[in-house]
Symmetry: C2
Subunit: 479 residues, 2 copies
């Protein structure tokens, strides 16, 4: 499919100027009520048309007995009514000229043959009528393009991360956690049974989406494997794709069967597919967001040679974690050691890699200056540093806080200036909000454990490798 | 050494009725001030004697020019004065009859030959005078036995976890994070250079300590490897030992050299040592606390057959994580499925393992009843369940909240009643505080990711295996 086609086909869903709620309900707590409530709460400014045989008013909006009664054009229909009624209303929607659908209703293919028949029928109706739809058996979507949300509670913050999930409730939980941690979402899509639109369609659309920088997937089984591979290969040339696969173990695979009517398939095949496509796989589900945060904001390193700034055990553990992921932590040359020593307090030990400040005697500004020295070394490709956490900063405003701000600003300037990523790590949880706000505002990721920052650096290095390999060749990549 | 000896020797440190602060300072921020400030803030009720040549008053306490001027007995001396002065004051302390020491001062063996000579000298003085000490080059200790803290800011909550760290600052950060997450500490010991007291001594003491249920170690290199192995083998028969080893990678090992003057040693040797001793190794540093929380409160499972309660993706990912750790997730027999089905709402799917509630239609009480059914099965050894998070609970008090409380209470009664561990997992972060408080009060651990709860269950299973193996034999255990 040409990119222009998919954009044209999916824009009625993700940039809907008007929405009909098919199966709207006056009963709080019901899906037919909740979908409208969430759309209002997310700040959607388009036109909203509840459709309910009883008419009247729902959440202050005029309700129409039939979708054909709606006086103006409708881009998107959201379906929350029982499966048996779906074919008839889908026909009306097509007749009305609606081009986008989100089917939240369950009891389709995931429940057996009867459900599958209804599902096949609504696909035929939509295909014939030129409608594309997401679902059924999903939790809906969020799209920051028009601030429209049916899926998440509370509504997420907008941001550059698109999250497509094959599990609705779990995907919603992940999206919620992501939001608490400060990751904004451009899209959330609970894809459900993928009766019509499938993951490859969404990948094609998200590749073109200017609001999306990184694509995150939770999948349990892949439909149209060959197309998934082909599309993903194209997309990762422009944006990273991160995936977590549920049901990777035999016992987990058994559990997915009853869940999304998808066969998990061989994990080895899926792994090979990801390698060939240049998709980054997450070993734990939260790692998706750890890796995404770095990929959103940081330049890609040329290679895997990392410098670490961190005292004592924190430096040691960061180096261990990097090393476990195949990163290198080169020793510094004498000239570099001398220049870094000049920045440090007199009693600091001779700097190595990690650069050890020897306990608390450091300031944010010294730390940032050390980072800048490291960024200038041609054998260092990226830097991990502790967010400076001097006690003085935690306790005072004034001079110490100013040094902290200056340090954070200097640190935040380095990635662009030297084309090398900087990741920070805040281990203590008090007294750093000021600096973290500055870092976050400047797009410098911060993490709470050495393992997380090492993993994020690994993702940058790996995606850098994937990008250069894809530029050079179409060969299979090694892990 | 006989247990009685080590208790007698270390009680002056960990149950000190009086403390002399050698090198006390009137300058806020200095170690000689901070140690006293922290002791006061932690609620220490023993006698405190600042020692400073200038005399006068420090933080409202009368300061003595010399330790020999203190009119009453002193159990513990805390040293914060420069290394060169240490031998002389150590002699005075021994003369005073002080039996315990904590040397926070740095610039000993970790800085080279001169420092090592001073370190050796103070060890000789202490040995001769019958004093045992922790350090030098450490951050001090916390002991809940007498609410005495020099090391941590803020002071930790008391609890059953003893944490011994070879890295001071990092150990302090870990202890702080542990506290934020609600893990209380019986002891925190920053062991520094281990000039006199070494990890095996502390293990022997902690084995006897009634306040300690689980022992957590951050080590970079092990001194007295053979004794460590022998002591650890004895201790794990009574209490679990969890360890994270910094410097496991070659580059990390290089970093430890300048840090704690310890040679990291071969990781393979250390691994073998842990296996032989029955010590649980953590792959990531925060996993120490994840595993400890379960070991503190839960009965040990007889084997590795786990049941999971969790909808959709959350159940799937939990099963994957368990499977990756070698746990089994047995299918349920027909009779069990029927009995569980009776507890569930009518439209719930036929229960498998994981037991899937199909979306939001569940209550805390239903979940707890399912857990109890599972606990009665002779082929299930432990249970992981989601903390119930119905929206109704988040939004209302009254009936729904009552059902939640009943459910939590029932859940919390299961481990003791059936001798099987229950771990919970709370993925959403709102609306569950009430139930979580009840669970926590009843000693039911909760985790924030499926991977964490699976790892905690693994730790219980593994420690159960270690305990039974140690009861049977002294042979080497397999991983």
């Amino acid at each position: 499919m040409m990119p222009a086609d998919i954009v044209q086909q999916l824009d009625p869903i993700f940039k809907a100027k008007s929405v009909a709620f098919i199966g709207a309900s006056k009963t709080p707590g019901k899906w037919g009520y909740r979908a409208i409530e969430r759309a209002i709460n997310s700040g959607y400014r388009g036109r909203m048309y509840p459709v309910n045989p009883g008419g009247g008013e729902i959440l202050g909006l005029k309700a129409y007995p039939d979708v054909l009664d709606i006086p103006r054009d409708v881009d998107l229909a959201v379906f929350t009514l029982p499966a048996e009624h779906m074919p008839a209303v889908m026909r009306s929607c097509v007749q009305k000229g609606i081009k986008g659908g989100v089917v939240i209703t369950a009891d389709f293919a995931e429940t057996g043959d009867h459900g599958r028949q209804i599902q096949d029928e609504i696909v035929r109706i939509a295909r014939k009528g030129g409608m594309r739809f997401i679902g059924p058996n999903g939790m809906g979507i969020w799209t920051s393009a028009v601030w429209l949300n049916f899926a998440l509670e509370p509504a997420p913050k907008p941001g550059p991360l698109a999250f497509v999930s094959q599990s609705g409730t779990f995907g919603g939980s992940l999206a919620h956690i992501a939001n608490i941690k400060g990751y904004g979402l451009s899209k959330f899509v609970s894809i459900g049974n993928q009766a019509d639109l499938k993951i490859p369609d969404l990948l094609e659309y998200l590749a073109e989406d200017p609001d999306t920088k990184v694509i995150v997937l939770y999948v349990e089984g892949v439909m149209e494997g060959r197309r998934f591979l082909e599309v993903a290969r194209r997309v990762v040339q422009r944006k990273p794709i991160l995936v977590y696969k549920g049901g990777a173990s035999p016992e987990g695979a058994r559990a997915t069967l009853s869940h999304t009517a998808s066969i998990a398939g061989s994990n080895a095949v899926f792994d090979a597919m990801c390698r060939q496509a240049g998709i980054l796989k997450a070993r734990e589900v939260e790692h998706l967001f750890v890796m995404a945060e770095a990929l959103i904001s940081q330049p890609l390193p040329r290679s895997n040679r990392i410098a670490v700034i961190g005292s004592g055990g924190q430096g040691v553990v960061t180096v261990d974690a990097l090393s476990n992921l195949g990163m290198r932590v080169p020793a510094l040359d004498d000239d570099a050691r001398r220049r870094i020593k000049e920045v440090l307090p007199p009693h600091a030990p001779v700097p190595g890699n990690p650069v050890d400040f020897a306990g608390g005697a450091r300031t944010a500004l010294q730390e940032a200056r050390v980072a800048e020295q490291l960024a200038q070394l041609d054998y260092i490709d990226g830097i991990i540093t502790n967010v400076p956490t001097t006690f003085s900063l935690a306790r005072t405003v004034g001079a110490a806080a100013r040094v902290g701000i200056e340090g954070a600003e200097l640190l935040a300037s380095i990635p662009e200036k030297y084309g090398k990523p900087i990741l920070t790590q805040r281990f203590r949880a008090h007294g750093e909000d000021l600096i973290i706000n500055i870092l976050q505002g400047a797009g410098i990721p911060y993490y709470t454990t050495p393992e997380e920052s090492a993993l994020a650096m690994f993702a940058l290095v790996r995606y850098g490798q994937i990008r250069s390999a894809l530029e050079d060749t179409v060969g299979v990549l090694d892990d």
